[in-house]
């Protein structure tokens, strides 16, 4: 404040400063955009918060405590798994519980405080089963695969390799980034540049004439996906064979590009938004940019599952990871930011969530993902919004619940 006053005195008084603020004032962001971005960001927070060693150390402690129980449980299910493995004609089952206890599928949160629920809000949800789930649980397999992925490899050598593929031959430099550094390779001022962030995030951009173009000047969807797939593997950003089917999403004809998004081929159904690979393609099939955060495949192991009823109990006790759609939500009715509502789950599926182990090794761990609608009061009455909540599917002996 002292500094501002000093500036005001120099500038000729508060009045002029206020006029300056008035002159540069901009309209606020579109409310729909604000809400959508918030949901997008907080959907990612669950995964990102697990990148930090502090939380991972907590998992390490849990791993030591539970190790004895793991082997007992492994022995108990060995007969079942053996039967599945030796049955003729079946796909070979990977080794059993080879990774030890699996890390939590999401960051530890207070009960019923889902990461995607929105900042500053308190939740008090009552969970109930509805629709087909009210009649009974569907059948799920006794075991599911957990995937261990390779930790992020962040080094000058790696970025230099990618840069060389991109035709950027200048040496990799270190740029200040918060309390650390980001590795950067640039072809020259205003030229193509690629950066590798400490968490493994790769960002590439090259100069492009962003202007409106007709859709016909951009490649057809199927070709765009194929183009992006080949480019990502050729540039060594994603190992060959690990990309899923890919989709053309948020294209922007006003600026002359379209964007292809990939998720991992295995497992097929990930509830977390990491990993992903975005490739931006412009006219003449030019790769304009890319944003990639990936974890390469390393190993697989089969894990016995607990029952879906047990997972549902975890959810009702507030130990699930909640994600719900706030885009159309105007906010809690009261002034205390408390959102109390009833969440009715109408379907459940076996899916996978990104999780990080004590040694920062990423995993995809099986989860039961329940979805339906939550009914909550808002400023205009009552509204029903989609929600999803997931909890570990691995048997208790193999996963901290």
């Amino acid at each position: 404040m002292k500094e501002m006053s000093e500036d005001r005195r120099r500038a000729g008084g508060e009045d002029f400063e206020l006029t300056l603020a008035r002159a540069v004032k901009a309209p606020p962001a579109d409310p729909a955009f604000r809400r959508e971005l918030k949901v997008r960001l907080l959907g990612g927070t669950e995964a990102m918060t697990q990148l930090r060693p502090k939380r991972a150390h907590r998992h390490q402690a849990g791993r030591v405590r539970r190790r004895a129980g793991v082997w007992a449980a492994a022995a108990a299910v060995a007969v079942i798994v053996f039967a599945l493995v030796v049955r003729p004609g079946r796909t070979p089952t990977p080794p059993l519980a080879e990774f030890g206890p699996l890390p939590r599928p999401a960051a530890g949160m207070a009960p019923a405080l889902g990461g995607a629920g929105g900042p500053g809000f308190q939740f008090e949800f009552t969970y109930r089963l509805d629709g087909p789930l009210a009649a009974g649980w569907p059948q799920f397999p006794a075991i599911a695969t957990a995937y261990r992925r390779a930790p992020h490899h962040v080094s000058e050598g790696r970025l230099a390799g990618i840069a060389a593929k991109l035709g950027i031959l200048r040496p990799v430099v270190r740029e200040g980034w918060m309390d650390g550094e980001v590795l950067a390779a640039e072809a020259g001022p205003g030229g193509p540049a690629v950066r590798l962030y400490p968490n493994g995030y790769i960002h590439y951009e090259r100069p492009y004439d962003y202007r409106p173009v007709p859709r016909a000047q951009l490649p057809p969807d199927t070709w765009a996906v194929q183009l992006a797939r080949e480019w990502l593997t050729a540039m060594q950003m994603v190992p060959a064979g690990e990309l899923g089917s890919g989709s053309v999403g948020s294209g922007d004809l006003d600026n002359g590009y379209l964007r292809v998004t990939f998720r991992p081929a295995q497992p097929g159904d990930l509830v977390t938004f990491i990993p992903f690979a975005h490739v931006t393609i412009g006219v003449d099939e030019t790769i304009v940019g890319a944003s990639v955060i990936w974890v390469a495949a390393e190993a697989e192991s089969a894990y016995p599952l607990r029952s879906v009823a047990e997972a549902w109990r975890s959810v009702t006790e507030g130990r699930g990871v909640l994600e719900w759609e706030l885009v159309e939500y105007t906010g809690p009715a009261g002034e205390d930011n408390l959102i109390a509502g009833t969440a009715s789950a109408t379907s459940v599926r076996l899916a996978w969530s990104l999780a990080f182990g004590a040694d920062r090794v990423p995993y995809f761990v099986p989860v039961y993902a329940f979805s339906g609608e939550v009914e909550v009061p808002d400023k205009e009455g009552t509204v029903r919004l989609p929600f999803q909540v997931w909890a570990s599917a691995a048997a208790a002996e193999h996963s901290p619940q």
């Binding site: 500036d7 004032k25 901009a26 962001a29 900042p119 962030y197 922007d252």
Partner: protein, 187 residues
Amino acid sequence: MTKLESASEEEQVRALAVRARDDPQAFGQLYELFVDRLYGFALRRLGSPAEAQDVTAETFLRALEGIGGFAWRGGGFGAWLFRIARNLCNDALSHRQRLGPLFADAFPAPDSADPEQTAVAGERAAKLRAQIALLPEPQQEAIMLKYLAGLSNRDIALATGRTATAVSSLLNRITSKLRRKLGEGDV
């Protein structure tokens, strides 16, 4: 626009930034505090609401990815955030090789209860906008970081790679110049 000039507000942001490493809700509160100013900054720099939204989204995404490593090193969360946004805007501008339509008059002026006062103040602000648009780009940027984003000189310095003294001196020169252009004389 939320300005975070006082020590207590700065402390609040600092506490939120620390909590946000492990608490998504804290990050969400930071988002609420900064999203409009960040969007406004990007909009003024780029002139396109769509591009401003892209920059805002990308900035918060990068902030979310990096919040675990964020450390309080004499500068604030705002400085860090606007540094990211500034780099993204500069990238976008270098791609376009031209400046966006800065200070489009279609943007609403602040409201006031007194229509006459609004008209006079609005006219003065419009003249000032026109003069700001003629400033060299780094000077426009400094003005916006100060008077739109509400950053302290120290945070502007951190966001732009200058010293706080240089920022103070630069702002002093700019405001004096703008006053002269407005026919209000120097101080």
